[in-house]
Point group: C2
């Protein structure tokens, strides 16, 4: 049974084919589940097979005022999964847009549709024995490789600022138009895939974290696999040391010694990936008492924080020189420092660097579910196939942006620790040196949705965290479904202008209404 009006249903079936209009209540209900409490209903799921079908769907929806909410991999765990905003919408599932339409070995880029997953692109590169790799993420291999970048996810490798390494986006607009950003609008050319800006105004940013259009295809830039891969691991015990570590990492990034994302995790975060919550040791209590963590941490020599960085180099000598510089800068700052080098002539899928260890896979653009296990932290066991929505895993992310500067990192971390602990959650923290000057702190609120009252406590904790970060100026770089309207109003005319753009491009207001547009600009 669907809540779609019969005439709208008929028209949408005409566009995408009735086989691709899902109205089965069971499947709709599944799509309404996220990793926290939500209320948006899924009225139907449309599965268009091409950008033209997406555009036609948008046109019909605009005509009838039917709210549509796009989803690609449907793995937006911790930020709202597939659940639509507001009371609900029809899901526009891009999962059938699965083609990889172009691949250029020389210019190191690949053009994919919005439904192509990290796992699929990795398989594609492997089959070709490509010498290139993609920036991959810590989340699900079944997420969309393109849409994760459009949503400004962070990833491994030199192109870890994933949104910065795209070109020629194909976008379907609510009015049914299709446009291509950059040089793509001129049709096939030698330069569309390699140049981001094109000529004249550059529109790609309009469609990132946006409800102004639906990105259906785009070119993703790839990096050469390093002939020498250096890994840097470090640990330190004194939490106050984080400030000096972050300052050192910033210097190493700014000067170009480290050209990729650096991850710094606390002990709780490491524990959550390594295994389940130690219910027995904790005597069944939550949050995990610090003495239990200290006891577990003895296996690591008492370290509280753990770092991982990589050096991507074309020669052993380059790798060694960079690692030596890292050693020079971090010695005396961290307690333990391990560097390692692997050399060879790697291809995607080659055994050379193909290690079991998730961290090494991540650095080489091999998608895996390793970090994902942490969302089952408070559960008793891991299922065969991870599906946190189905399994009642509670996950909420906060996404504060911090200057990559010691005192800011420390302030944001201490705030996270205080707030999470006060609400009964462990401070699972990862700090990512996302660019040369920006850190993404990722405090995860992980809980068991099957425990009564936890959903509410988790949301309250999240809201308090977000509010406190905003007051300190650590503004969020991503927002979950539940917090699109919780930012302060702009202090300039931005909200009004954004609302005007929304009305210009989506006059019927059918595309993910309220998503990232705050509605502070109401005129």
């Amino acid at each position: 049974m669907t809540t779609l009006r019969p005439d709208v249903h008929r028209e949408l079936c005409a566009v995408v084919g009735s086989d691709h209009v899902v109205c089965d209540p069971q499947r709709l209900h599944e799509a309404e589940r996220a990793t926290f409490a939500t209320r948006g209903r899924v009225h139907a799921i449309l599965r268009p097979g091409s950008a033209h079908e997406v555009a036609a769907t948008l046109r019909v929806a605009s005509q009838y005022g039917t709210a549509l909410h796009p989803t690609s991999g449907g793995r937006n765990w911790g930020l709202g999964s597939r659940v639509p905003p507001g009371d609900g919408a029809v899901l526009l599932d891009l999962g059938r847009l699965r083609r990889i339409t172009d691949y250029d070995d020389e210019l190191a880029c690949v053009t994919v549709e919005a439904g192509v997953t990290f796992a699929e692109l990795y398989r594609y590169l492997t089959e070709r024995e490509s010498r290139l790799f993609m920036s991959t993420i810590g989340a699900s291999p079944e997420a969309s490789v393109l849409i994760n970048a459009i949503e400004r996810g962070d990833g491994s490798g030199p192109y870890g600022d994933r949104f910065a390494h795209l070109a020629s986006l194909e976008v379907a607009l609510p009015g049914g138009e299709i446009i291509h950003t950059g040089f793509g609008r001129f049709g096939p050319s030698a330069v569309a895939a390699i140049h981001r800006w094109g000529v004249g105004p550059t529109l790609d940013g309009l469609f990132s974290q946006s409800n102004l259009g639906v990105v259906t295809r785009g070119t993703i830039w790839l990096s050469p696999l390093p002939k020498a891969l250096g890994t840097v691991r470090f640990r330190f015990r004194d939490p106050a040391r984080l400030a000096a570590v972050v300052d050192a990492v910033r210097e190493l990034r700014l000067e170009g010694t480290l050209r990729s994302v650096v991850g710094i995790w606390n002990d709780y975060r490491v524990l959550s990936v390594e295994g389940r919550y130690p219910w027995q040791r904790a005597g069944g209590r939550t949050p995990l008492p610090r003495p239990v963590v200290d006891e577990l941490a003895r296996a690591w020599g008492g370290a509280r924080w753990f770092g991982l960085a990589a050096v991507y180099a074309a020669t052993r000598a380059q790798c060694d020189a960079n690692l030596e510089r890292v050693r020079e800068r971090l010695t005396g700052v961290v307690d333990e420092l391990d560097v390692d080098v692997r050399t060879g002539e790697p291809t995607s899928g080659s055994e050379l660097f193909h290690e079991e260890e998730p961290a090494l896979q991540f650095l080489q653009g091999i998608p895996h579910e390793g970090s994902l296990r942490s969302v089952y932290w408070r559960k008793l066991a891991l299922p065969e196939r991870l599906d946190p929505d189905r399994d009642g895993c509670g996950v909420l992310w906060a996404c504060p942006t911090v200057p990559l500067r010691g005192r800011d990192a420390l302030a944001a971390v201490e705030l996270s620790e205080r707030t999470l602990t006060a609400h009964g959650f462990e401070p699972l923290l990862a700090l990512v040196a996302q660019t040369e000057r920006t850190g993404y702190l990722i405090p995860m609120i992980v809980y068991d949705r099957d425990v009564a009252g936890e959903d509410e406590r988790a949301l309250a904790c999240h809201d308090q965290l977000l509010g406190a970060f905003v007051r300190l100026g650590y503004l969020p770089h991503r927002l979950g479904l539940q917090s699109w309207s919780s930012l302060p109003a702009a202090q300039d005319d931005y909200d009004r202008v954004l609302l005007r753009l929304k009305r210009c491009l989506d006059p019927a207001d059918i595309l993910s209404p309220s998503r990232y547009d705050f509605r502070q600009g109401e005129e």
Copy 2:
């Protein structure tokens, strides 16, 4: 005498102060001169003193339907200088927006208003003995450091893709609104200056090469001065070698060995910077006969092409390892290769790397007029103060974008040589490896505007070049005043959507009408 209506003139005087409304016919006439034939008249020059005055000016202009054309340094030589599009407009001169409002030594960024020049920012950094440097350009030190980036100029150093290394733009819109891109809209925060995207849709691209708003301020990211600066110079005789050289440069850029722009100039271009046209040897003829060039080139061992690249490193060992990799890759590809290393603890303005040689200054972000001399190529002498608009220097740039791939570079270069020579001009060519996969070819048409008929011949040559590049798919990354409407129509709905955005943000169509918006979308 002004052509402004008295009531408009009165209102504008009320906004910017009558001292800052220029109506002197002599000064207006000077502003109508570019380095090629133009027809746009300057009705007045307004010199607002703040972003609020800019916004108020735009509001008044919208109200009266008065066309405004913004200009900052006024040095857009080769692309139209300060001259307004169409029949003319009032110039909105941002030259009084001269404040440097924030500087962060740790996070390596500086916030400047639109009128701040390269020379001024360099002086500012020097006075502070900053350990940071800006990406500088080959053109005038008196150009606006911010607006050159907004116009997507290319520069030296790791941030040579200058538009990619900005944040928090302050923009005045035709309706009189002021917005800040990225996190800037939330007012002062720790992250506005360091993070480009902010949260939600990213609007900065809308205001680049655009007539949708006027950028009045922005944050420019800086790079640490290298403690070891490696320079790479190479030469080769056989023009067909260019293909192999470009392929090698692409590999070196993609793998991260070369993290900055690589410049490859032909012999004509080098001659044009080194001195004036050899009128005597050429027997007064133009274009310069190839045998004369060959004769001059003997001083260089007959090389036809010249390359310059830099390695920015924190240690001598890093620099050496990278230079060794460059040597390995270019040996056998070029005829001559010279590498050099300078080490020390540099600050801006320190004598350490402060060499007279323009190329070395460029690499370290020191603005200079060295390359600019080439616009006087066909003139008999250089004046004390370079002012190509005043001096009748003829200059037209074409700006084709090419994949950084040997066969494309060669095809674009050969086309340029044929076309320029056929029209009676020397092929002054620079090929810049702008990013890891994109090359900017810059064929300059340089002539003497005081020679009858040359203006017409130059424009004809430019138009033929542009058309031929477009047919090959080498689309322009910038356009001069004369060619904003000469691109093909989009093959998708882009032009219509861009026009809709223009009507949304500038309903009275007062801001640089027709600039980069092509009007192909007329509905």
